[in-house]
């Protein structure tokens, strides 16, 4: 059996790159989809040199949703596994003031990744096989004052993935929802993150790799986050609304 190609959507992100390396290490050819392929040419060469697999580059703009189908048509072959690392943290205060900024955060974290994986899901379903991995966020588990624009979009994405998984169960297509907590990446650079709750991009990649191989449905990268979020979810709203967390 040949080893299935892995499509990385958002291949320039730290998590996307780490996931590409992890699957390449296991012998999977890699398809890197980014807005400007020349920005990742050196990364592609690095993956080829280190792991001896083929890497192809694909130009795509996640927010140009009208172009998704045409972009997927250019993938030859259709990947066996697709990992969506598209997302944008944005700035909560800016999102509160500026509708355009809020729209960008909502579209980058929900509309674009959901439509993209939805389109891929149809193709995987027609083929009767494939794995879709959506990188969502614990921020989607309960809206908080500090990041609810981002969180609400991730919440929508998490629900979308869950529905997709439900629809495709028994049709050969598997859907994995990843809820990383804090991750030390370019997106969180300069933030003061608690060490015990913060994962590296490599740890996220390893968790995703294992989840795909074991066909897990949903995972936190660091198990402690399941506990943290269980607590946060169960605080009564009367209390929660006055908390600053």
């Amino acid at each position: 059996m040949t080893i299935a190609p892995v499509l990385i959507l958002g291949g320039r992100s730290d998590i996307g790159r780490a996931v590409a390396h992890r699957f390449a290490r296991a012998g999977h050819p890699i398809q890197l989809a980014v807005r400007n392929p020349e920005t990742v040419a050196a990364d592609a060469r690095d993956i080829e040199l280190r792991h001896g697999v083929g890497v192809s580059l694909h130009a795509f703009d996640a927010l140009e949703t009208a172009g998704h189908a045409a972009f997927l048509d250019t993938l030859d072959p259709l990947p066996g596994i697709a990992v969506c690392a598209v997302g944008l943290l944005g700035d909560q205060a800016e999102s509160e003031r500026d509708m355009a900024a809020a729209t960008r955060v909502m579209r980058s974290n929900f509309e674009a990744p959901a439509l993209l994986l939805g389109e891929l899901a149809n193709r995987f379903e027609a083929r009767g096989s494939g794995t879709l991995v959506g990188i969502s966020s614990v921020a989607g588990e309960r809206g908080r004052a500090t990041n609810y624009v981002y969180g609400s979009a991730k919440s929508g994405f998490t629900a979308f993935l869950s529905g997709l998984r439900n629809r495709l169960a028994g049709k050969g297509v598997h859907v994995v929802t990843v809820l990383p907590g804090f991750v030390r990446t370019r997106m969180t650079e300069g933030m003061d993150l608690p060490a015990r709750l913060t994962a590296t991009p490599e740890a996220v990649a390893e968790a995703i790799f294992r989840a795909v191989k074991k066909r897990r449905d949903s995972l936190h990268v660091l198990p402690v986050w399941a506990l943290v979020m269980a607590v946060i979810r169960n605080i009564p709203e009367r209390v929660f609304k006055r908390m600053r967390i």
Binding site: A42, D43, R45, D46, L49, R50, R186, E189
Partner: protein
């Protein structure tokens, strides 16, 4: 954030930036003196500066490899261990490697590191085709062997510019195994004789017991090594010559208590080690990881020296003064009873470069826990080194004074002058370069 070198001494609050592209590096350089830092394996304060420490591990890509010539082009933040795990299965191994694989390529170049084959193959510079270095103005220049700036940069400890990329030549090997020959030496003379008698060996290094007094002063285990050819491997390995048993890495979980480093305990450890080694005299196959990087299997081994950290002393002595200088040092160390788990003796080949550490002769390296007595002893060892015409390895140094440095190495003044003339001193500085007035 608080930073130290591998020895965990000294510490300093440093502003650390992690640039991801050349523009970010240029912006950082515009902001005053900075020093590049790789994986933090220099022992002292070479790769830290309170004002601006540039974490180069964001530049970690391999860019090209020529399977015909073995030339690898890679960014400065690539880790040596990754080079080995990538290319050893294809039959290639670094020509020069220090005693840990957790160093970055940039760090190896900046310190012009040496390995167990220095007497035959030279230091890191021997395998470099070119380097690309960003100057104070943000311009990137490709430098080649023979050029003056290349010569200053190899061994220049990051003080001549930011090393961004390099092309290095790997060597062909037939297996991942080393044929190791162990020669017990009863004292220093016997150890030096063994080095001279085996000058043709590819690799040679000695573990030396610094705590045993005369008549066993400087008793050693001299270890020679050759890359094993494929047909030397037993049948079980011959089919997969690059596959070696995976070593289980252990992690030191906490800072060790001080009594572990008491003189008697280390003395006993050293005696036991020597006795076991002597029984294992002869030739056997050892996997590359155990042979070149014995301490890498103990992750965080720097913590065994306790909370206060440790310093490593490493000097090189000219050939004609080696015997006298080494005896004087060993006598002093044995009398003081100041401990060192790891003391290493090695024969160097000819020195090269304008500011690189190795010189033809012998090098001695040993660790000391940081305390008042050992710092005083180190001052004495400095004096013995200077009296015998020796010099010190900046990648290990954490504590010597600018005066000591000048006395030991007349080249320091020229290095500092060159930095002033070329406007490098205001762009590149480390805690070490300020301490040593480089």
């Amino acid at each position: 954030m608080m930073l130290s070198g591998w020895g965990r001494y000294p510490w300093a609050a440093c502003h650390v930036i992690r640039p991801r592209d050349e523009d970010a590096l240029r912006a950082a350089l515009a902001d005053g003196p900075a020093i590049a830092r790789g994986n933090g394996r220099a022992y002292g304060d070479s790769a830290m500066h309170p004002r601006s420490t540039l974490d180069m591990r964001g530049f970690e890509r391999m860019l090209d490899f020529d399977p015909g010539s073995g030339v690898l082009v890679a960014e400065a933040g690539v880790i040596l261990g990754d080079i080995i795990s990538t290319f050893l299965p294809r039959g290639w191994f670094p020509l020069v490697t220090p005693g840990t694989k957790f160093v970055t390529l940039g760090g190896m170049l900046a310190a012009d590191v040496h390995g167990k084959n220095h007497h035959r193959d030279g230091s890191m510079r021997a395998c470099v085709d070119w380097i690309e270095v960003m100057g104070p103005d943000g311009c990137v220049e490709r430098l080649r062997p023979g050029e003056e700036r290349f010569d200053w940069t190899l061994g220049g400890m990051g003080l001549t510019g930011l090393i961004l990329r390099a092309a290095i030549r790997l060597q062909r090997v037939e297996s991942g195994w080393i044929r190791q020959t162990l020669i017990p030496a009863a004292d220093l003379d016997a150890a030096m004789e063994a080095f001279e008698a085996h000058a043709g060996a590819r690799y040679s290094v000695a573990w030396i017991d610094c705590l045993s007094p005369a008549p066993a002063l400087g008793r050693s285990l001299v270890m020679l090594g050759e890359h094993a050819a494929r047909d030397e491997l037993p049948q079980t390995h011959g089919g997969a010559p690059f596959v070696v048993p995976r070593r289980r890495a252990l992690r030191v979980p906490m800072d060790a208590p001080a009594f572990l480093l008491s003189g008697p305990l280390i003395r006993a450890f050293n005696a036991l080690h020597h006795a076991r080694g002597s029984r294992a005299a002869g030739t056997r196959l050892v996997d590359w990881d155990s042979y070149f990087y014995p301490l890498d299997a103990l992750l965080g081994w720097n913590r065994i020296y306790g909370r206060r950290g440790f310093v490593q002393f490493q000097c090189a002595l000219p050939l004609d003064a080696s015997r006298d200088g080494l005896s004087a040092m060993l006598r002093r160390i044995a009398t003081a009873g100041q401990g060192a788990f790891l003391a290493v003796l090695k024969r160097f080949g000819p020195g090269e470069g304008r500011f690189s550490f190795p010189m033809e002769g012998y090098t001695l390296a040993l660790d000391f826990p940081v305390n008042r007595r050992s710092l005083a002893l180190l001052d004495e060892l400095d004096r013995i080194t200077i009296d015998h015409g020796g010099r010190f390895y900046l990648a290990k140094d954490a504590r010597m004074s600018a005066t000591t440095m000048r006395a030991a190495d007349p080249r320091a003044e020229g290095f500092a002058a060159m930095r002033r003339e070329q406007g490098l001193h205001s762009a590149f500085a480390s805690a070490q370069s300020e301490r040593l007035a480089l």
